[in-house]
């Protein structure tokens, strides 16, 4: 256990509705008593055939190589309570380290099967692409723990190219807190697709730090909420260097009594001319009981740049429904087509066919059924 972080966890108050960031979220069902006693390791399985030289396996088996990077992508201070909890209690996880100029063609898959029932898990993932390397990494989280607080650190070094897909699908009784942060160096690129498909409350902090000229980050996300699930997304696009590009599209579909809250920040520091930053959050609401908040924030301190954001909340379009019905489709079919069309721009970014099909199947089960 990390005693400093544990103290921080104990001192941070339980988030409440008076907190701007947690305004419509309800944490009352989360039981935190004796959380350290309930900690159980997640079972990790690895799939994929990396070429020699690539480190791909459990974090505990490669600590010497990992130590150079571990803990250096995420700034741990001034975070919410559950990030401190992860920092205090994490023990193991997975690592992918691709050496210089190495191209991994086969997707590498890390699957965390989380322990069930009254247990807590704190997996840490470290992904490093050394200069000029290329890889596709798929991360999956499944299971029904009462609590998960995880972290993924991503380093994309100069000229490297990472395609990163992450799929979160826990039981509707699980509380899921994940932080992911990428440091993107000069001329490096990261293409993200994050699927947030279920949890009693899922909070996802997804951040990119643009540190070198010519770097780019394309962040795509799809979130689904059904029943009484709560989905909280916090994205941060931080431009510390000029001539960098970040783009973001988060699409959510909400039904029943789901709650969603999106907060996205684009921050451009001084002397970052030539920045292009875009951010878009689109929400499709399928029921009257849904609560949907969106807060897109811009903080800009440079002037030679182009920066836009947009957010919408809407329902299925009556005219489009009518058109499809008039072509002989029944209501369920028409809805399915429109929902799938709504999510297509995100799904199209998944470059691994099997994973894309998995996303589509989960969307069908959860939202369209």
């Amino acid at each position: 256990m990390n005693p400093v972080a544990w103290q921080r966890f104990l001192q941070l108050p339980m988030p409440s509705r008076h907190d701007v960031d947690w305004r419509h979220l309800d944490l009352r069902a989360l039981r935190l008593e004796r959380v350290e006693k309930r900690t159980q390791p997640a079972r990790v399985t690895f799939r994929g055939q990396p070429p020699t030289g690539v480190i791909f396996g459990k974090l505990s088996g490669h600590r010497t190589e990992a130590n150079r990077f571990l803990g250096k992508a995420i700034a741990w201070e001034n975070r919410h309570k559950f990030v401190a909890l992860h920092e205090a209690l994490w023990e193991d996880g997975a690592v992918v380290l691709v050496p210089k100029n190495c191209r991994v063609t086969d997707p590498l898959e890390i699957h965390y099967e989380l322990p069930n029932h009254d247990s807590a898990a704190f997996p840490r993932t470290l992904i490093v692409l050394e200069p000029g390397a290329e890889a596709t990494v798929v991360q999956k989280y499944t299971g029904a723990p009462s609590l998960q607080a995880g972290a993924t650190e991503l380093f994309v070094q100069p000229g490297a190219h990472l395609h990163y897909i992450s799929l979160h699908q826990l039981a509707p009784t699980s509380f899921d807190f994940l932080i992911k942060r990428a440091r993107v160096a000069q001329d490096a690129e990261i293409d993200w697709v994050i699927g947030m498909f279920g949890a009693a409350l899922g909070r996802y902090d997804i951040e990119c730090e643009m540190e070198g000229r010519g770097g780019s980050s394309f962040m795509y996300g799809v979130g689904l909420g059904a029943g009484q699930e709560q989905l909280a997304q916090f994205t941060h696009q931080h431009h510390r260097s000029g001539d960098t590009t970040s783009d973001l599209l988060f699409k959510n579909v909400l039904r029943d009594r789901a709650v969603s809250s999106y907060t996205g920040t684009i921050r451009v520091e001084k002397n970052c001319n030539g920045t292009n930053a875009y951010q878009s959050n689109r929400n499709l609401v399928l029921s009257r009981e849904v609560q949907c908040d969106t807060r897109p924030v811009l903080e800009i301190e440079s002037n030679q740049l182009r920066c836009t954001h947009g957010a919408t909340v809407g329902r299925l379009d009556d005219n489009q429904m009518f058109y499809l019905r008039s072509r002989g489709l029944n209501e369920a079919q028409a809805r399915q087509i429109l929902i799938e069309a709504f999510l297509e721009p995100v799904l199209a970014r998944i470059r691994v066919d099997t994973v894309r099909r998995e996303f589509e199947e989960l969307i069908r089960q959860k939202i369209i059924r």
Binding site: S302, N303, H309, G310
Partner: protein
């Protein structure tokens, strides 16, 4: 006492002079219950108002600032401020009766008597009190009431009490509580059913005293099917100390009525401008806020529309220009509580020479507000590397029957546009000026003519020397 910096600012800000006016009444500085009693005594107020003021002062002392609002925590020393200063005895109906020194001040500001020909009514407040308040005969005959807020309380006690603090109670926020404790001056407007008051009613607010707090209070009731356009302007001298302006504006737009409220805020850069403005819209009412913020050290102001009745329409057109020493924290709020309402927010901001412009907004759709539609557009222009622009919109939607759209963009004066204009033989400075004027055009065209001219002049002044 003036430093070279204030001297420099003064040369740009033509309203930055101050006059030595004889003080008729004043109180010692500081936040005290005795000051509340003094104000209540001088105004001869009913007991309920005195109690309301005392309760509000207690609320102010208890209340913290909202956690989403940055800054302001240790910036203002409330005990160094004077809460009531009056250079006049009472508002005059005839311009000739206004004391000569004050007339001179207003002449310098260009609020000359000639302007009255264009206006349905004119009010002029200096420090805590109205020096002049008058309405055209023809409007008075149709039952239009346009008085200073204090006179409103005296002459229409029941109507006043029915609406006063009903849109913005002192509990609403810290600065509303401060205003509720020390309010003085402002306007009381009543437009009777079906009366279209098509010539604007105008009020000019002037701070002359140093380290002073101006707390005008405006209450506007536009009865069913009526129309009213209210215009306010403001300015203050440049001192080296800070002043405070915390106004409260409450507007009630009854069924099928329409109200337009235009503000051109041009405070000097030592004024904290912390204003609460709210309109309550009844069935099919229309409210339009046209809000121009060009001055002040820090402005915190989000004109709001609360939709209480079906089919209302609200609009906020916001223009902010943040020059050196300014932080324009402007925006808008729309709260939908009834079905079939529509809203539109259009914000344009410019920041230059270390200025900071922020858009902060809230769109809230309650579950009962079905079929509402709201659209928000924010555009920001950053003129140089030292300046800053922020956008902080919040959208909270309950239910599936609303359509909410928000778009924002931040950019600089584009090289291509500049190149094009310069290739046509236009000087760089003029080219930038043309581009900026084009950028704010959609809002400026909604302003009354005199204001539009004034805004263009001010923006051009702010641009001077800003392009290297």
């Amino acid at each position: 006492m003036s430093t070279p910096v204030t001297e420099l600012l003064r040369s740009h800000y033509k309203e930055g002079f101050h006059d030595d006016l004889p003080i008729v009444r004043a109180v010692p500085k500081g936040l005290k219950h005795e000051v509340v009693d003094y104000i209540s005594d001088v105004k001869g107020e009913p007991d309920w108002m005195r109690e309301f003021r005392h309760r509000s002062l207690d609320l102010f002392l208890k209340q913290g600032l909202p956690d989403w609002l940055p800054g302001l925590r240790d910036e203002i020393d409330y005990n160094e401020i004077t809460y009531y200063v009056s250079p006049v005895e009472k508002p005059q109906r005839r311009w000739e009766d206004v004391p000569e020194e004050i007339r001179r001040t207003y002449d310098k500001l260009g609020i000359a008597k000639e302007e009255q020909k264009l206006l349905g009514g004119l009010g002029a407040q200096i420090d805590s009190e109205m020096a002049y308040h008058n309405i055209q005969e023809s409007l008075a005959k149709r039952g239009v009431v346009f008085l200073s807020c204090d006179e409103g309380l005296k002459q229409y006690p029941d109507l006043f009490r029915e609406y006063f603090s009903k849109a913005i109670p002192p509990e609403d926020n810290k600065f509303a509580a401060l205003n509720s404790a020390f309010w003085s001056g402002g306007s009381f407007v009543y437009i009777p059913k079906g009366v279209k008051c098509d010539i604007p009613l105008s009020v000019y607010f002037r701070i002359n005293a140093e380290q002073f707090g101006q707390f005008e209070r405006t209450l506007i009731i536009v009865d069913e099917d009526a129309f009213c356009h209210y215009v306010e302007g403001c300015s203050a001298p440049i001192y080296t100390t800070n002043s405070l302006h915390a106004a409260v504006v409450e507007i009630f737009v009854k069924n099928r009525a329409r109200c337009r409220y235009t503000t051109i805020q041009n405070w000097s850069t030592d004024v904290y401008n912390l204003v609460t403005k709210r309109a309550m819209l009844y069935e099919r009412a229309v409210m339009e806020w046209v809000d121009g913020n060009l001055g002040s050290k820090r402005t915190v102001k989000y004109p709001s529309c609360y939709f209480l009745g079906e089919g209302g329409h609200g609009e906020v057109l916001s223009l902010a220009s943040a020059d050196r020493g300014m932080w324009q924290d402007a925006g808008a709020k729309m709260v939908f509580m009834a079905p079939n309402c529509t809203g539109r927010i259009n914000s344009k901001s410019i920041s230059g020479r270390t200025g900071r412009a922020s858009y902060r907004g809230l769109v809230q759709v309650r579950p009962e507000a079905t079929n509402c539609r709201v659209q928000v557009n924010c555009d920001a222009l950053i003129l140089d590397e030292q300046s800053r622009s922020d956008t902080y919109p919040v959208m909270e939607i309950k239910g599936d029957l609303a359509t909410v759209e928000h778009e924002a963009s931040v950019s600089n004066v584009s090289e291509e546009q500049l190149f094009y204009l310069m290739s046509r033989g236009i000087k760089k400075e003029d080219a930038v000026s043309m581009i900026v004027n084009g950028f704010i055009e959609p809002i400026v065209k909604e302003l009354p003519m005199e204001f539009a001219v004034e805004i263009n002049r001010l923006i051009n002044l702010q641009m001077e020397g800003s392009v290297g």
